[in-house]
Symmetry: none
DNA sequence: CCTTGACCTTTACGTTGCGTAAACGTTTAT
DNA sequence: ATAAACGTTTACGCAACGTAAAGGTCAAGG
């Protein structure tokens, strides 16, 4: 199949100007020029453009791309595998940023306050990456995995103080469940408060809170006998009531 | 807390030059200038910088950001919710590109050939964007409700048979944890099987499974004493091991 | 056949978001 | 007290195109 500038542009999602620019800098030259001076691209060029876009997606400069694909030992399959890895890293970074947004929303809505440092989690991935690569292995060897785990937990913000607060909140929820259950209505103010506190309590252990996950957890409370038994200790039917209160609070109840 | 240029730069991951540039164009002015002419940033500026970085992550131009945050009706919480949505879209785009890479690898290694059009799937997200804006919300609302309804129905309608299967699976997991823990490696085949079975078990109660939620649950296993006690009954450190196995299985391990 | 509109060409200047360098003052630690 | 590490402003540079101008080509419809 052969393509003119516009056709290749539409197919690949880049602009015509971009293709001409890539020709100009020698990154992607058309297979041939037809009698009217039009650029005509062929199969090889289509595949190369794909490669270029993969690299561009990873924020590699056009100059570097030019160097890479012109290296004599360039292995396309190997490059694609590297792409996959890097794209995965990028997605992880996005996940972190999303978690930060969620945390920020929660902190605005009266959850636990955030430290300034936390507010930029995910943005600084590049710096961490280097550190990890440079020192990560050594540190792990030196202090052992356990220390790293503990340090991670700490980094996630779980201080001794936080842990105690969380335990206390857990007990409070128990009392609230009793009170709310007495109203008999999962939409009552008491039930709302119960769900709210439950969310707050969750925020201590969940780095990334989402309605979806919260609702899922509520459902699991009923399905999982351990939870069921735990909340049933308080009042019979307490687990189901808690679930309904949470679903109601989240506004996903029908 | 107050910050100088360097301190804010290090914390947020941007360069000093960037902060000075943002001051220059009026995007982020320091709270005050001290007696030596140094820029001093305060709490408000930290939060604003975070907002700016969120927008920048979504490829909004600095000029547009300036307009947005200066709008009189600017609602920070609402903006954050929009960020979440957009970030999710971006992640979906990344997923598509990753699928394209995988497909390309497969086609090179003798799988079925790809059509040229397929080679650029994921890159052209922009066209879809408009559609999304118009109909996305409605569809999502509808779809979301349906999923939840179905999930409720599923729980309420779980047959005795299913319930027994689930219980049995729960016991199996217990045994698997023992076995896997003996290997000492959260990446071992035994550990993988453990995580896999755990997911399977989850599927009984969770209609909408997601990696995120699964990983979050794994973390909660460690943080929540009820879970911790339950799995610790088997072997000391069992809870942490289960978490690590799950995170490893999900590929979100660090 | 002729016109229209969508495509193609080259040349050239403009823009964004900083990086980098120069030339110089301030603060901190040894 | 001296160096290192920070701070300041001014100014030029750069990547990766967008955009406009001035013009040639091509397929389709009247």
């Amino acid at each position: 199949m052969e393509y003119t500038v516009k056709k290749l542009a539409v197919m690949s999602g880049v602009s015509g100007r971009t293709l001409r620019y890539y020709d100009q800098i020698g990154l992607l030259k058309p297979a041939r020029i037809n009698s009217s001076g039009y650029r005509i691209y062929g199969q090889k060029e289509v595949d190369l453009l794909q490669q270029i876009l993969f690299y561009r997606e990873l924020e590699v400069s056009l100059e570097d791309i030019l160097d890479i694909i012109n290296q004599p030992g360039f292995d396309r399959s190997k490059a694609l595998l590297t792409h996959l890895e890097k794209l995965k890293e990028k997605r992880t970074r996005l996940d972190k940023i999303m978690a930060t947004v969620e945390k920020t929303i929660a902190s605005i809505e009266g959850g636990k306050p955030m430290q300034d440092k936390e507010k930029f989690e995910g943005f600084k991935e590049k710096l961490i990456e280097d550190n990890e690569k440079q020192y990560g292995e050594e540190i792990r060897e030196k202090y052992g995995d356990e220390t790293i785990d503990a340090s991670n937990a700490k980094l996630r913000g779980m201080s001794q103080e936080d842990y105690e607060k969380m335990t206390k909140l857990g007990e409070e929820i128990f009392v609230l469940l009793d009170k709310a259950y007495a109203t008999g209505d999962p939409a009552s103010p008491e039930a709302r408060k119960l769900a709210e506190k439950h969310k707050e309590w969750l925020m201590y252990s969940w780095t990334s809170y989402s309605k979806e996950a919260h609702a899922g957890l509520a459902e699991m409370y009923v399905a999982d006998e351990r939870f069921a038994a735990y909340y049933e200790k308080s009042v019979t039917g307490g687990t189901k009531f808690l679930r309904d209160a949470i679903l109601n609070y989240l506004g996903v109840d029908e």
